[in-house]
C-alpha cells in the first residue's frame, strides 16, 4: 500500500511540474498585460497554466504592480497559505525594484517582491508585453522540466 502511495505521489509531483495552477495578484497597469496573456489572444492555457480558485490550490504566484503596505501584507499572507513548492513570477519594474515611483529617499526605500518572498522569474518592462509573460512561463517550465518540452517534441515530430 505504501508503495502505491509512493508511486501516486511521484505521478502527482510530475504532473505538478507540467501544469501550473496560477494565483494572480495583478495590480497596476501590468495587471492588464497579465489578463491579456491569459485571455483569447495569447491564451496561456495552451502552455499549461490554469486558474486556481484558491491560493491553497495554486503552485504559481504571479505578482505585479507597486507594493504598498497593504499589498505587501497580501503577498505575504497569500504566499504563506500556498502549499510549497511554489514558483513566483514578478512582473514589471514596480514589483521588481519599485523604480517608476521611487522617490530616491534613503529613508523610504521602495518595497520589492523579492524582499518579501523568493522570486523565480523576473519579467522586466513597464509594462512587459504579453509575450514576455509567456516567455517567463516557458523559462519556468524549462527550469522545472529540464530537457525538450512536449511542445518542442511535437513540433519536431510534425516537421519531419
Amino acid at each position: 500500500m505504501s508503495w502505491l502511495a509512493g508511486r501516486l505521489e511521484d505521478v502527482v509531483r510530475r504532473l505538478e511540474k507540467q501544469n501550473q495552477f496560477s494565483w494572480l495578484i495583478p495590480n497596476g497597469c501590468c495587471g492588464h498585460e497579465i489578463k491579456n496573456a491569459r485571455l483569447a489572444t495569447y491564451d496561456w492555457e495552451r502552455l499549461g497554466v490554469f486558474k486556481a480558485s484558491h491560493p491553497e490550490q495554486a503552485n504559481l504566484l504571479i505578482v505585479s504592480g507597486w507594493v504598498n503596505s497593504a499589498v505587501a501584507e497580501e503577498i505575504k499572507v497569500t504566499y504563506d497559505r500556498m502549499i510549497k513548492p511554489v514558483c513566483v513570477i514578478a512582473i514589471g519594474s514596480c514589483a521588481i525594484t519599485g523604480s517608476p515611483f521611487d522617490t530616491f529617499d534613503p529613508k523610504r526605500p521602495p518595497v520589492t517582491v523579492s524582499s518579501l518572498i523568493p522570486v523565480d522569474v523576473y519579467v522586466p518592462g513597464c509594462p512587459p508585453r504579453p509575450e514576455a509573460i509567456l516567455r517567463a512561463i516557458l523559462e519556468l517550465q524549462s527550469k522545472l522540466n529540464p530537457g525538450p518540452s512536449h511542445r518542442e517534441v511535437l513540433h519536431e515530430a510534425l516537421r519531419d
Binding site: 483569447a40 495552451r46 519594474s93 522586466p124 514576455a132 517567463a136 523559462e139 519556468l140
Partner: protein, 174 residues
C-alpha cells in the same frame, strides 16, 4: 426580502438554460474546427505578433564605421533617465579627435521603465530602443546589461551603424 420577477415560467427550469449554453459552446467548437484560419489566438513560441519598427524594446548601443562605440560618454542619458538605471564610466581616448569614450556602460534592465528618454536625450544617436522585448529570465541571471550585451549581442550581427558620422559633421562644420 426582495422578489426577483422571472420573465417567464420556463426560465425557472435551469436544464434548458444549461443545454442552450452547451449548445453555444459546441457550436463554437465545430465552427473553430472547420475554420482554423479564423482563430485569432497567437501560438506564441512559434508565431509572433508583428510589432511596429518603432517599438521601444531593449536598448541598442550603435557603433561607428570602425566598429567602436558611437557613445561619447556625455552622460546626458544617465542624467535624463527617470529611473536612474544607466551608469557610465568615461575614459580619455588615445585618439586626439575623440574626446572621451565609455569604458563601461551598464543599464539595469530591472529598473528601466522603457520610456525612451535616453534615446531622445542622446545627441549623437548612440543609443536606440530596439525591437526585442521578450527578456524574462530566471532569477540569478544577469540583468545588468553591459557593453557586450548592449552593442554586440549575437542577433545584432556586429553592431548597428549610427546615423551620425564624425567626418560628415566636420565637413559640414557642425
Amino acid at each position: 426580502m426582495s422578489v426577483v420577477k422571472r420573465p417567464s415560467q420556463k426560465s425557472k427550469w435551469y436544464i434548458p438554460g444549461v443545454l442552450t449554453g452547451l449548445g453555444i459552446t459546441i457550436r463554437h467548437m465545430f465552427f473553430n474546427l472547420l475554420h482554423r484560419k479564423d482563430i485569432f489566438t497567437i501560438e506564441y513560441p512559434e508565431e509572433r505578433y508583428p510589432y511596429s519598427d518603432r517599438f521601444k524594446g531593449n536598448h541598442i548601443l550603435t557603433v561607428k564605421k570602425d566598429g567602436s562605440l558611437r557613445c561619447t560618454a556625455c552622460m546626458l542619458c544617465a542624467t535624463y533617465c527617470p529611473a536612474e538605471c544607466i551608469s557610465i564610466t568615461a575614459a580619455e581616448h588615445d585618439d586626439p579627435n575623440v574626446e572621451k569614450y565609455p569604458i563601461s556602460y551598464e543599464i539595469d534592465i530591472l529598473r528601466c521603465v522603457f520610456c525612451g528618454l535616453c534615446e531622445e536625450a542622446c545627441p549623437v544617436d548612440a543609443i536606440r530602443m530596439g525591437p526585442e522585448h521578450q527578456t524574462a529570465a530566471l532569477a540569478g541571471s544577469r540583468f545588468v546589461y553591459d557593453i557586450n550585451k548592449l552593442a554586440y549581442r549575437p542577433n545584432l550581427k556586429g553592431g548597428v551603424l549610427s546615423h551620425v558620422d564624425d567626418e560628415e559633421r566636420k565637413a559640414r562644420g557642425l
